[in-house]
């Protein structure tokens, strides 16, 4: 029988570090806390009326912290503590998912290269302000280009350690 030594580092050992990761040409950091909401409606106008704010009209577009992810779906990343009306009785869904995901900020001249290491989209061609759901390898993420050399990545909490270390390995 062949005995294979145990791994020095196993998946169970992966954790989010306290410090940002600074690599050549790119920096990876945890984003600030946000109030996160999933906003759903067939008719955006009803949501806009309820929330008193404009929503981005087209999938992939973002506006004032809100990304349009699907034809009836928006993701709002608002300052921590923000409360929204739930719109009870209206044909809408407003659901607080503040704790569901963590945000990463990928910044620097090699930010595109780092995200492209595992994301199949042509991230280099994203205009500033584009936000979309996609994957990094097998893990679902939302990629949001917030500046020429800065991206915000949303990932579900339990997948965050894996994503962090996968990005760190690629950086």
């Amino acid at each position: 029988m062949l005995e294979i030594a145990p791994m020095k580092l196993s998946a169970a050992d992966l954790a989010l570090p306290a410090e940002a990761l600074v690599a050549d040409g790119v920096q990876l950091a945890l984003a600030d806390d946000y109030a996160r909401f999933s906003l759903r409606a067939r008719d955006a106008a009803i949501l806009e009326g309820l929330l008193g704010r404009k929503l981005p009209a087209k999938i992939g577009e973002t506006l004032d912290g809100v990304a349009c992810l699907g034809p009836d779906e928006w993701l709002a990343l608002l300052p921590a503590g923000t409360a929204l009306p739930l719109g009870e009785g209206l044909p809408v869904s407003v659901t607080d998912i503040s704790s569901r995901a963590l945000g990463f900020v990928v910044e620097g001249p090699r930010a595109v290269e780092l995200i492209t290491s595992g994301c199949p989209l042509d991230v280099a061609k994203f205009p500033i302000g584009r936000g979309t759901r996609t994957v990094f390898e097998t893990v679902e993420i939302v990629v949001w280009r917030t500046a020429e050399a800065r991206f915000h990545i949303e990932v579900w909490r339990s997948f965050a350690p894996w994503l962090w270390h996968a990005l760190a390995a690629a950086a």
């Binding site: 992810l69 779906e73 199949p120 996609t134």
Partner: protein
């Protein structure tokens, strides 16, 4: 890896964002209890396996989340067209 045109996102996206949902245009009857056993069996289990043009469902699960329909050639794997759920078969 295929590139699939999502009719909701209106762009070509990589296959890894999608999940195949089997044959398209099999509507659940409004009143299943009116179906005979053979009719219900047909609805549940009987599927086409064409060589060539095939209507199938896909979901842009890691994108906009929407189910949509596609016509794909099972020989070449090429998509002829994709269209939104609810639109008539092409």
């Amino acid at each position: 890896m295929l590139l699939i045109h999502c009719p909701y996102c209106e762009e070509d996206r990589p296959e890894v964002e999608f999940a195949n949902g089997g044959q398209a245009h099999i509507a659940r009857p409004a009143d299943p209890s009116a179906y005979s056993d053979p009719q219900w069996e047909e609805f549940l289990y009987i599927r086409r396996n064409p060589r060539g043009r095939h209507h199938e469902r896909w979901r842009h699960v890691h994108g906009c989340g929407r189910f949509f329909n596609a016509v794909r050639d099972t020989v070449s794997d090429r998509f002829e067209t994709t269209y939104k759920a609810g639109e008539p078969a092409r």
